[in-house]
Symmetry: C2
Subunit: 409 residues, 2 copies
């Protein structure tokens, strides 16, 4: 049996242990929900105070230039680029993941105008499918939704664009980005990767895989804060031909000439629409400093180790208590989370949260535990399984149950 | 001649004078650019500190429920509704003005599917025209762009939707919302009003005019901060039939059931797309407290008085100095700004800013002065014209000229 002392020893030897101090975390809480809302990097409040009191209140409109607000979406995009295997000028911060997905899906269908199929995956996060459905409706395409195991065999020469999420939000199952991208390209299709559940928890090799487009959110493993702005990646080779439909003034080649006709910016700025949500961009940019000096392979190794530990401990302590593993056992197929299914998952998660062990519930029966390797400790995993064991053995979830079925994003 | 003492007396008698203390403004600066970026309400930093340190850092994911983050876009929308003549449940905070305009224009063309013309106005803020052009392309409509004086005569039974901005960003010219809306309805068309340059500076009567849709930004007269989230209004009578194309999960009837098919929320929530930019929403909601107890008719009366004063002083002091009035002289046709044209407008504005009198420049030759009645003083207007007179008389704009032509939003 793995002991808590062994877990504490792993923490003591953890090459990323020092990164936890970069976050402001409540001392009495175990936080395994960084894949829903990342913890707050400790430098954010001071940066925000400067942004508010010096830049906004005192600098006023001048701060768009003097405080370098204006290039913040590009600058922050370049910082994200380093986490996802993209080059400078290929990533920009803008809008939400859903809005960015709309932009790239429409743009992709325009680049493959002779094809009429958008291939998506049934178990993807719903917003991706909703947006793909709307894009199909507006562009006269067919949305073909298939099960995960059918994706590879469904990529054929009718497909204009394949839209997938790298790591599934519910199961934590991870696609082989390189293999799927190659298959799409062999069939003459383009591919869009949603990185919401992978960026910041593992290396992503967009250019290494020759991916075409990607989108992702700023508020999970990037720790940008609630509703942080999202980002969009366009491979440099596509930029010149890319016509996205949300043609707001900030995507214009010369937005401050206020010309009547739209002419897209030559570079990644063409993915912008309206004025950047500057307070959010500032928080996100500051938050990304938490990754300074972090080797993404080391980050991934810790993420895998945390997940393996969770599964081993679950095997040891939760057998026969109604929980089943809902994530791949093979770390090579897993993202940075472990999901367990339990028929009373909602009440069980509420009981855990009452004990200050915070994971997430996903309908109908998934207990989801996300591992942000910058701040999650091995001992946290031990304590989580221990709390879960106690709750399940004593049916505490029934006693402690929260009857109001409130929603948590 | 109007004296500075007379202006100071107007300030002393100003029923809104106490509102200036609700803002954190640099003491040595005259700020007439609140129609580009509103000044910072003094309560925002404390509210943001709580949001960061208590709600995000300590509350973590629980704050979506426990700190009432989740209903913030609706709650803040209802506060904006009171400023624009809308009812509860008709306004929601989301995305940017451009993105919201895309949503309502597509939705409107779907509600008038038998008509194929989007009527827009050539001198509108460019983003509105760019978005309308993209919507026309995607929906197979024709974008008909006309000069302002042709708008009324161009509304006929071919028009699906009329897209106008209430107050023009450059000239400050204001449409008669009631008359244009009535004309559109008589022709069987729908109408979208962009309120960027009117909301927060004057009463707007969306329901009084029976307007169909409206959009607007949070960072001008609403003082929500740089890139503050925007809002969208949908008249209650249209909500049930409205199908907007950016069908993200937060617009779903039950977003947390994660169902495969999109089913729009019954109410204004259907205008949402992705997760709300929560830090921005929080700042905007706090900022709106600056309007507490403010009678919008009194606000408008002050706005008109400030504009009239500016024009009178310009007549008295700037004649023969190369400036011409570029806004309507008749306050009934004006928003809350006065624009002056000068051939060297850019350099002149830079010289003014160097003297800490902040207005805005709009290419090619417009000096734009916006009057946020909550914090602009009559004496500010006197000091502005005095500084402008001195700069023009001494050609100081030539000496003080800033050669780098940087852009300011």
């Amino acid at each position: 049996m793995i002991t808590r002392e062994q877990c504490a020893a792993l923490d003591a030897a953890d090459p990323l242990a020092h990164c936890r101090a970069r976050f402001n975390l409540p001392a009495d809480t175990i936080y395994l929900d960084g894949n829903s809302l990342g913890a707050m990097p400790a430098n954010v409040p001071a940066r925000m105070k400067t942004a508010l009191e010096d830049e906004w209140a005192h600098g006023l409109i001048r701060s768009w230039n003097d405080a370098d607000w204006y290039p913040a979406p590009q600058r922050t995009g370049n910082k994200i680029a380093k986490l996802i295997g993209a080059g400078p000028g290929e990533v920009i911060v803008a809008d939400s993941t859903s809005v960015n997905l709309f932009k790239v899906l429409v743009a992709a269908t325009r680049m493959r105008a002779e094809r009429r199929v958008i291939l998506a995956e049934r178990t993807n996060f719903p917003t991706d499918v909703y947006i793909a459905s709307s894009v199909a409706q507006m562009t006269g395409c067919e949305l073909r939704c298939v099960d995960p195991e059918e994706v590879m065999s469904s990529i054929d020469d009718s497909v204009a664009v394949v839209s997938l999420t790298h790591v599934n939000y519910k199961s934590g199952k991870r696609y082989d980005m390189e293999a799927v991208t190659r298959k799409a390209h062999e069939a003459g299709a383009l591919i869009v990767w949603d990185l919401c559940h992978s960026a910041g928890a593992m290396p992503v090799h967009l250019n290494g895989c020759e991916a075409d487009f990607a989108v992702g959110c700023g508020y999970k493993y990037l720790n940008g804060g609630p509703g942080a702005p999202a980002y969009v990646f366009v491979a440099k080779r596509h930029l010149a031909d890319l016509n996205q439909p949300l043609t707001g003034w900030h995507g214009h080649a010369k937005p401050f000439e206020f010309t009547h006709d739209y002419a897209p910016h030559a570079g990644i700025d063409r993915m912008l629409t309206g004025t950047a949500p500057q307070l959010g961009v500032i928080a996100l940019e500051a938050a990304l400093e938490a990754f300074e000096g972090v080797d993404l392979e080391v980050l991934r190794a810790k993420s895998v180790a945390l997940g393996n530990l969770m599964i081993e401990l679950a095997d040891q302590h939760l057998a026969g208590l109604g929980c089943t593993l809902a994530s791949p056992r093979d770390a090579g197929q897993r993202g940075s989370q472990v999901s367990l299914a339990h028929a009373e998952g909602y009440a069980v998660m509420q009981a855990l949260i009452a004990r200050k062990v915070i994971g997430d519930f996903r309908a109908p029966d998934i207990l989801r535990f996300g591992f942000a390797p910058l701040y999650v400790r091995y001992a946290d995993i031990w304590d989580t399984v221990s709390a879960l064991k106690d709750i399940l053995e004593t049916c505490a979830w029934d006693n402690e149950a929260f009857h109001a079925r409130k929603s948590v994003t």
